[in-house]
């Protein structure tokens, strides 16, 4: 197969950036989207052109490293799927594929398709944990957690921190990401003592990082490769209110 791809090229943070169009040959339908880009990069290198920089690691949808906007959609046109899980058989040769980085105020571009998502780590550092030192944990089965609660917590905990929610949101809000962590802990008895403080601190850190507000577009849920529900955002609001009222 042979594809036309229009890719965002940007030298560094300061550069204004622009699109470049390339042709990739010898693509096979089984190839993943990133393997198609690998192939293009090999072809570029051999022509002495500079390869397109993009992030990836596990290439099986779990590490959250990859993340491209493909044809205007974060992680591409397929639902519940990361960019690395997209296959070329899902694309048609007749249409130029447009590839861009995740764009958001909170995610400055480093180079080409690579963005800086360290803001997410700073939000987790602001309370996305339980305060238990190593060695001081009680016997695991001393804490009984009903199966359905554990499952719900797992639904929220499944977030891979890729940032597609931010890229998909018209306001570039990080609410889905932040709320998934807050919800996980709000369901579990572990870390309950710091529940209010956690919600307030994490939300405030999110604001400080320059992410926008949530105005219920639900684009985040549609783009989320792990199908994290926007119900988490409602939980976050509740947790934040409780915390703020308690003066946490």
């Amino acid at each position: 197969m042979k594809f036309q791809v229009k890719v965002w090229r940007q030298k560094n943070r300061q550069d204004a950036g622009r699109f470049e169009t390339y042709t990739v040959e010898d693509v096979i339908p089984e190839m993943s989207f990133l393997e198609m880009l690998d192939l293009l990069n090999e072809q570029l290198l051999k022509r002495d052109e500079s390869p397109i920089e993009f992030d990836s690691d596990c290439r099986e949808g779990i590490c959250g490293t990859c993340g491209l906007v493909v044809d205007g959609m974060a992680h591409g046109p397929k639902r519940a799927c990361t960019t690395c899980e997209l296959r070329m058989r899902n694309f048609s040769e007749d249409k130029t594929i447009v590839v861009e980085p995740f764009r958001a105020h909170g995610f400055p571009v480093i180079k080409d398709l690579v963005v800086d998502r360290e803001a997410f780590d700073r939000i987790i550092a602001a309370g996305g944990y339980t305060s238990v030192n190593t060695g001081s944990a009680p016997e695991a089965n001393a804490l009984l957690i009903p199966k359905d609660i554990a499952e719900k917590a797992m639904d929220s905990a499944a977030c891979i921190g890729c940032g597609a929610c931010v890229a998909a949101c018209p306001n570039a809000s990080a609410s889905l990401f932040v709320s998934a962590k807050i919800t996980q802990f709000s369901l579990l008895p572990q870390g309950a003592a710091e529940r209010k403080r956690r919600a307030v601190r994490m939300v405030e850190q999110m604001d400080r990082e320059g992410f926008g507000n949530c105005s219920n577009h639900a684009e985040c849920e549609a783009a989320c490769p792990k199908s994290i529900s926007i119900e988490n955002i409602a939980v976050m609001r509740r947790e934040y209110m409780k915390g703020a009222l308690a003066g946490a």
């Binding site: 198609m36 290198l45 500079s50 690691d57 180079k111 695991a140 009903p146 905990a157």
Partner: protein, 642 residues
């Protein structure tokens, strides 16, 4: 007889195996709490091993500098582990115990691991579960609210804890949150998008590292009182493996080149149930949980090159080769045996699929017996993943699988305290060689990474630090200047060659050699060929590679180029080690050493030792040092899966 090497003192404590760790902890020198913050400890890696160590050292009050390649510590490759983590909790009351986990691990490692280490691992396994639950890891639970378990990798007890198919992710996020708490507290400083390219030694001790800032290209230097390397395994030496594309041996290899011995490099594990390669553009292979083998039957056509679709091949013309060869275990035969049998079938022309390099894993019988809904409940997500990747529906036609390199038991040699042969340089997790012998049991790597990181290293490091007080070492020391210079020169050299073949071209070629000749069945002739092939490839690489771009900004081709340079050396040492070990054990199978019916044949008289290799210079054969292994508690026996 093997001679005990004077430089390999494992420092195994005296006393009965059950007492060693507690006695040892009681005798370790401690650092005064008020003084801890005066010590700086570097931890390279943020996977289960590195992340847990950095968090715990921070909690203890040390000043910790923590490095990783990815943009966030949460993305370390531990995140990809699916199946689960073992622990001797005996929650199922099915006869499990620390002793049994210890026994299974020693036996599973085919008697090439240290008893004392393995016992400690089994002992700490229970604390890991407590710690992870306290951190909020949402493990699977029973209706009553207690933790659920499953049996994994052929174990006779149910001791594996899991969080859906995302156990590694959840454990890592637990560990990452503990780490971020220390970042918040100011005790751990994070350095993401950094690649360690050298360890700096002064007066014979590890005193810091040199890394490349992957965004700016700057070569940076950091000083410390001790350095811990938790940089994962080296399966990507095969190019195609189940590991992430950034997995590498570079940090460990640079330690080796500074004098740390590298142990059992040839001990690698090939996982039997991976998705087959689809073409030359493939960048990695996806693992599917081997729980699939509980209900799937492995077969190939009895006729070579039979191109009929599977449903058209009648029962009588199918060879269920695992059931035929290993009737007692059948489709659940251990990883190495299953993998080897599949490759053999394909090499002999019986393979299926477009490339001929895959075998069927067929659920038709199980679906008939149990109904599709039961199968869907058990493996729904795996079937969906398979369908998604291959465009073939495994409910309608058999899956196609093929083995892939998955885990490396070999790594930096460490003593009981996890210290390498370089004072002050520690190795943790998959980066060390310590606990799995010649073959790792399923669900044991997560356990080892967390045991090393949460419990072992934080306890043992104080013994060293108490003896080596902070002395005002800074990066102005000339050892740093020299190291930066060497790293900088190599980086510029790689860019400067500007030859004809890309880094990927070379990596692909190295991968072919490794897979064919240093893969799961090796022989003398093949290994000798591999050594000369790799030498030739390496020579060509340094003359003819094309990296592109500049060293002054983000350049992934350059990152991969540096890593491949190291793989081109490590690959050779793996072959040298495999050639030297004239026996078959665990994942290391030498065709010359097998029983009449094709079983691995160990040679305990000559090879009951750890082989640790010492760097002697570029393009020189390394020097072999042996650490004899003694088995006092688990009797040496040949395994049999017939």
């Amino acid at each position: 007889m093997s001679v005990k090497s004077p430089i390999l003192d494992a420092k195994i404590p005296d006393g009965p195996v059950q007492q060693k760790w507690s006695d040892h902890k009681a005798s370790i020198k401690l650092v005064n709490p008020a003084n801890k913050r005066k010590y700086t400890v570097i931890v390279v890696g943020t996977g289960l091993a590195g992340g847990a160590a950095a968090a715990t050292l921070g909690e203890l009050g040390y000043n910790v500098l923590n490095f990783c390649i990815q943009d966030s510590p949460r993305r370390a490759h531990s995140v990809a582990a699916q199946g689960g983590i073992n622990a001797a909790k005996n929650y199922q009351n099915d006869g499990d115990s620390v002793w049994r986990l210890f026994y299974d691990t020693v036996k599973g490692g085919d008697y090439r691991a240290r008893e004392a280490n393995v016992y400690r691992l089994a002992e700490l396994s229970t604390n890991i579960i407590d710690q992870s639950v306290a951190a909020g890891v949402p493990f699977a639970r029973e209706y009553g609210g207690t933790l659920a378990n499953r049996s994994f990798g052929g174990a006779q007890v149910s001791r594996t804890f899991y969080a859906r198919g995302q156990t590694g992710q959840q454990l890592l996020l637990g560990c990452y949150s503990a780490l971020m708490r220390q970042v918040d507290a100011g005790r751990v400083k994070l350095f993401p998008r950094r690649e360690m390219l050298d360890v700096v030694l002064a007066e014979g001790r590890a005193r810091g590292i040199v890394c490349r800032n992957l965004v700016t290209g700057e070569i940076e230097k950091y000083a410390a009182d001790a350095v811990c390397v938790a940089t994962g395994g080296y399966s990507t030496v095969f190019f195609l493996s189940t590991n992430a594309v950034n997995c590498n041996a570079t940090a460990a290899w640079r330690c080796y080149k500074k004098g740390a011995l590298f142990a059992n490099p040839c001990f690698t594990q090939i996982h039997p149930t991976c998705l087959p390669q689809a073409g030359e553009g493939q960048s990695k292979l996806t693992l599917m949980s081997e729980s699939l083998r509980n209900d799937g039957r492995v077969w190939v056509p009895k006729t070579k090159g039979d191109k009929r679709p599977p449903q058209d091949i009648p029962e009588g013309e199918r060879d269920y080769f695992l059931e035929r060869k290993y009737p007692a275990f059948g489709n659940l035969a251990p990883r190495d045996i299953s993998s080897r049998a599949a490759k053999e079938a394909c090499d002999n022309g019986y393979g299926v699929g477009a490339t001929g390099f895959s075998v069927y894993l067929d659920f038709a019988e199980a679906i008939g017996r149990l109904g599709e809904s039961v199968i869907r409940e058990r493996y729904g997500n795996l079937f969906a993943m398979y369908h998604e990747i291959t465009d073939e529906d495994p409910y309608r036609m058999p899956m196609r699988i093929y083995p892939a390199p998955h885990y490396t038991m070999g790594g930096l040699w460490v003593d009981y305290n996890l210290m390498t042969t370089v004072p002050g340089l520690y190795a943790l997790g998959e980066a060390n060689f310590s606990d799995h012998g010649a073959n790792r049991l399923g669900a044991s790597a997560l356990m080892q990474g967390l045991a090393d990181g949460y419990f072992v290293l934080p306890a043992t490091i104080s013994d060293y630090l108490a003896e080596h007080r902070p002395d005002g070492m800074t990066t102005n020391h000339e050892a740093f200047t020299e190291s930066v210079k060497a790293v900088d020169e190599q980086t510029k050299q790689l860019i400067g060659i500007n030859g004809k073949k890309t880094v990927r071209d070379y990596h692909w070629e190295l991968g072919r050699v490794m897979w064919e000749k240093v893969g799961m069945a090796r022989d003398e002739a093949g290994l000798k060929e591999a050594i000369s092939d790799i030498q030739a490839l390496r020579e060509d690489y340094w003359k003819n590679v094309k990296v592109g771009g500049s060293n002054e900004d983000l350049n992934k081709s350059l990152e991969f180029a540096g890593r491949l340079g190291d793989f081109l050396e490590l690959g050779e040492v793996m072959a040298v080690d495999a050639l030297d070990r004239e026996e078959s054990c665990g994942g290391h199978f030498r065709k010359e050493y097998q029983t009449a019916d094709g079983e691995a044949l160990r040679n305990d008289d000559k090879f009951c030792h750890v082989s640790a290799w010492k760097y002697t210079g570029d393009n020189k054969t390394p020097e072999l040092h042996k650490e004899p292994l003694e088995f006092d508690d688990v009797k040496l026996t040949q395994r049999s899966y017939k």
